[in-house]
């Protein structure tokens, strides 16, 4: 099965589940499906990187497998782990059996070989997100979230998965994907990923949308908002992004702001309304002061 038939279809189907795309996003998402290559999405926080993976999942009826990255993430959390408690139980059980069988005279060496083969079987394998995504028979979207938070060693771990969609387990052999998942990696660019990872991925930089698209997004997320206020809101957000702020407001914050305005039943986004609700959008005191000054909210 291919994921999408054309970039136009991506726009249509993601739009149907409430994710509005531009040309770049649609084309790249289509290519990720058509070439079966992982998609690396970079951009500031809150522009909908993770949402893209969720939207693809919803649009194609696939299932989402998510690996949230953090500092100290290791193989045992990302790939697989042997269930050693169960293995211990198994060994103890075998010992009990052997004591029972001792009277009948069984070969001890055989028993050990038997146990060894038993305890490294699939039954004792705990699959973690990467391995479970590869082993699934149904369509799967694998989301590797905030990959820049991991240590460099984990990137090495990802290489085999990303290029060949296979995982090698020494005791079991190589497990290859029967059906390649749609892989999305997201990154806030707090550090440069290695060239090796980047080379294997398609790259998409998501940025703040233009005013028209942002208005559509806000309206689709908060239908209760009046169109006129939405236009004012998007214009104000656009102006805020032009200022040199520590953290420019993202789409997520526009949507939050829209929800706030609806909840407070504000019907006109004038200077006072902006001033009162600015805390929803700007999260630094110095940004707040700058905005008040530049927009001349308190005359």
């Amino acid at each position: 099965m291919s994921w999408f038939a054309s970039p136009a279809e991506v726009v249509e189907r993601l739009g149907a589940v409430g994710y509005l795309t531009d040309t770049a996003t649609a084309t790249t998402a289509f290519l990720a499906g058509a070439l079966e290559k992982p998609l690396l999405v970079e951009g500031p926080a809150g522009v909908g990187k993770t949402e893209l993976a969720k939207a693809v999942t919803a649009a194609t009826g696939a299932e989402l497998v998510r690996l949230q990255c953090y500092e100290g993430l290791d193989e045992a959390r990302a790939l697989y782990e042997w269930n050693y408690r169960k293995q211990l139980l198994r060994i103890q059980a075998t010992q009990v059996e052997r004591v029972d069988d001792a009277g009948h005279g069984g070969a001890v060496g055989d028993a050990w070989q038997q146990t060894h083969d038993d305890i490294f079987a699939e039954e004792f394998l705990l699959t973690r997100p990467l391995l479970s995504a590869i082993r699934r028979e149904e369509p799967t979207v694998l989301l590797i979230d905030e990959v820049d938070k991991t240590d460099v060693e984990v990137e090495g771990l990802l290489l085999e998965v990303l290029s060949d969609f296979q995982v090698t387990i020494p005791e079991l052999g190589t497990i290859t994907a029967t059906r390649r998942p749609f892989v999305v990696l997201t990154s806030n660019a707090t550090r440069e990923l290695s060239e090796a990872v980047k080379r294997r991925c398609l790259y998409l930089h998501l940025d703040y949308p233009d005013a028209d698209r942002e208005r559509e997004i806000v309206l689709s997320q908060v239908p209760a908002l009046e169109e006129r206020i939405a236009t004012q809101l998007v214009a104000t957000i656009g102006r805020l992004r032009e200022l040199e702020l520590k953290k420019a407001p993202s789409i997520a914050e526009s949507v939050d702001w829209a929800r706030t305005l609806v909840a407070l039943e504000i019907r006109e986004l004038d200077d006072k309304a902006v001033d009162d609700t600015l805390g929803v959008v700007l999260k630094h005191a110095s940004d707040h002061e700058r905005a008040v000054r530049e927009l001349r909210l308190r005359r």
């Binding site: 084309t27 070439l35 040199e244």
Partner: protein, 485 residues
Amino acid sequence: MSQSSSRSSGQPARESGLLDRHLSFLKALRSAGLAVSLAEDLDAVQALTALPWGHRATVREAYAATLVKRQVQRPIFDALFDLYFPRMVGAGTGGAVADDDAATLDAGSEGESRPEVRDNAEALQAMRDRLSEALARDDVEQLARLAAEMVDRFGAMPGRGPGLSSWSAYTALQRVAPQELTDRLVAALVAQGDARDEEAAERTAGRRIEALTQQVQDDARRRIAEEKGPDHVADVALRPSIDRLDFTSARRADLEQMRREIYPLARRLATRLTKEQHARGRGPLDFRRTVRASMSTGGVPLTTHHRPKRPHRTELVVLCDVSGSVASFAQFTLLLVFALREQFQKVRAFTFIDHVHEVSHHFRPGADVVDVMADLAASTAQAALWGRTNYGRAFAKFAEEHADALGPKSSLLVLGDARSNYSDLHEGVLRDLASSARHAWWLNPEHRRHWGTGDSAAPAYGAIVPMVECRNLTQLGEFVHELAR
């Protein structure tokens, strides 16, 4: 599989010259500093075979997704893409329209731009009227068309022979002068009710005219590329990406963009430093814990335990030249150093031209960048008595007034181009300063080949304090990283 598909698509492409175009595009990208590997090359070809070729925007994004893996390189990529896969051919009015961007040429504009009507006062007036109308409506397609027409009509530079004619964005922009349309545009915007107030209208107008100027420049480049081949233009007309742009040759818009890069850069550096400190974090042996732990293994110390390593933090003293030629460089370095203040024990900053003035108090934690820059600019006046850079005098004054800033734990950082107007260099004072600090460095924003030319005292000072070339954000980031670890 990838090879076979690229081969099958390569056969017809070779005949049409498409493959050659693709390869020379890649070559241009590589020489512009993008590391495009063979694997990415094959990916690009594969992506193009999977896509419909009908839309130029789709092709552009396919190339971008497979070849450009860092966002700072995107402007270079876009410029090169426009050169190698131009939007249209020639003036674009003869029906030779290459793509959808300008596909809908209405009959009206085709009639107006008859080739025989060249540059005259009447045409100029008509052009300006149409421009201000299109700018007021923010009609993107019409503006793109007008930009092309501007270059075609007002920017042509007829040559003496075939192949010598050229196009000049500068001439076109001088002639039409879109900046003069600002007032009309502001009035139109206010009348339309698009803007909240006059100030907002002015901002919008400025932005649109800036975009138009950019379009005219791009179009002139496209026309030149058509005449002389894209390779020629790619070599000469492209600016480096913002992190490789020289501080000294940056324009005002570039400086603003660089300033926006400072905080992300500081955040990346901080992450990297924290990670490295964790990775190196094996302190001295904790004897007691090791022996205690060895009890469980019968007295054999199988695993050793260590004390956590105490990260040593440098005290930093920054002494920077803020005279006109290197002011922006000094500001960037100060901003970056103060953005990373958690990585240092203490930072003190002094500015000088011919007199020393402390500016540490401007960098309050959480302060607003723009305010800090404004304060710094205002305090520049206090760093000058006569206004001519004099390094020797500045060092002497520093040693006299602020010698207590330097101690055995502190590092001295001098920023400047070492151009001291042939005055007394006071090398002895600098030597004393350097020896009283733990480390000392000199960052010079000039290219190494200019050191020692003219009034540059770089070799003299470089013999006392190790001098490092630091021309762009990448070099600055690398240096500060080394400094903080």
